[in-house]
Symmetry: C2
Subunit: 235 residues, 2 copies
């Protein structure tokens, strides 16, 4: 019934207009990123996806959040806005990592400007390194996976093999339908074809199959934005 | 990037195939409903929407859930599957209401057959009546609104005016983009036009505007399925 769900579609625009508006500080960070580097800045989540993830955070009330792939801090700030409104004895914390040190510094500045430096901690490190070194006693309630698009399976396996997820924790993986190139990789029979599609699309498809088969987790793939995979531990 | 997101689209089918499979008891209830009344049964949520709502329940861990519009119990059973896996001192409860007494009895049979009669309680009553009579001391953590499509605003106002929602509660309203007829009602200027679109589409649009303006709540409209509006109290 709906149109393409892409950010130019009428349904997307209508939905954005009838969702809680983007906080002004986030709008200016997003706009500055688009001016600074119009191509790279396309990698940020959309404002509607931000509002959705903030909703998920408010509803779940996580205590410990990890983001893989910070860029200039835009998605981290949406998550942090959700954390801010939560009650609790100890304030919730969000760690986010960015491999590029110049970008990581930009993110730190943005987070300070947004007044959320007490909640959000930027690590200038690779996602793999952070997951390998994360203290497995400090369970993660929410992990947002948005770093190296070829490495989703590596990140997922590190989280599950090292048992980093809390009992009611969730992993959210972005871009699992990568630019609409993933779902055409299976025919009506459900059998993977070796058809066209970028290298990343093929890797994402293998990752989606990997999670679907893994008995340790339940998951739902949302055909929205660029494809969002929501993963939970099986009880 | 994605196709229409409707249940025939390739992205929808791919997403369904890579999400946790529908439990067999739910598949047989859905299939029996489609045989019994192929037209009415279209009103049920899709299996993918069911898996999404179960994910939301597991993540939120609500104690008290109310569904408006039960039909044969399909969506109620998805929600109940999410509630089942939750820890806690007192078992979570789901109330669902259905105006039609024949259908309500069918739902009761289905819920018994699924082994969830201790969790799900079917009320043979109108949604308006249930909301008017609901004990405002027993706060609702989750309300799924899927009854009379012309009455969403009435339901929403009853919930908010009677203060029935718990602090971290959420309301999920289905079909707010009603068959793709709602978003064309506004032009690029954002001004409502008196253009085509069913009576229900116009009412849904007015409802979406009503919620967007209401200072008591935050909301995000998801351009997925038939349009899902996720609403939370402002802290
Ligand atoms: C898709 S962008 C993140 C966008 C951000 N989450 C947002 O929505 O605002 C991916 C970021 O991850 C960084 N990155 C790529 N590979 C990485 C890795 N292996 N470890 C850490 N960061 C990485 C890139 O430099 C880029 O800034
Ligand atoms: C969209 S269907 C519900 C489908 C169900 N939630 C599912 O996804 O499996 C709407 C149901 O609400 C019932 N209904 C309509 N108006 C109602 C009202 N005012 N109060 C209670 N039930 C109502 C209809 O009889 C119908 O069975």
């Amino acid at each position: 019934f709906l149109d393409d769900g892409g950010s130019n579609g009428g349904a997307y625009q209508y939905s954005l207009r009838h969702s809680q508006p983007e906080p002004p500080v986030l709008a200016s960070i997003r706009e500055a990123a688009l001016v600074r580097d119009p191509v790279e800045a396309q990698k940020m989540i959309s404002p509607l996806q931000g509002a959705f993830m903030r909703h998920l955070v408010r509803s779940q009330r996580p205590q410990t959040v990890l983001e893989l792939g910070c860029y200039v801090g835009y998605s981290a700030l949406w998550l942090a806005h959700g954390l801010q409104s939560l009650p609790g004895l100890s304030p919730p914390k969000l760690w986010t990592c960015e491999r590029d040190s110049g970008i990581a510094n930009l993110a730190k500045d943005n987070i300070k400007a947004a007044g959320l430096a007490d909640t959000v901690h930027v690590l200038n490190a690779s996602a793999k390194h952070v997951l390998e070194e994360w203290d497995s006693q400090q369970k993660l309630d929410l992990v947002f996976v948005d770093a190296n698009k070829s490495a989703c399976q590596l990140y997922y396996d590190l989280i599950m093999d090292r048992d980093l997820l809390s009992d009611h924790g969730q992993i959210i993986v972005d871009n699992v339908l990568f630019h609409g190139q993933v779902h055409p990789l299976i025919g009506d029979s459900g059998v993977s074809s070796a058809g066209p599609g970028s290298n990343i699309a093929h890797k994402m498809h293998r990752f989606n199959e990997h999670v679907a088969i893994d008995q340790r987790t339940d998951q739902v793939l949302l055909p929205m934005f660029d494809g969002l995979l929501l993963i939970q531990r099986v009880k």
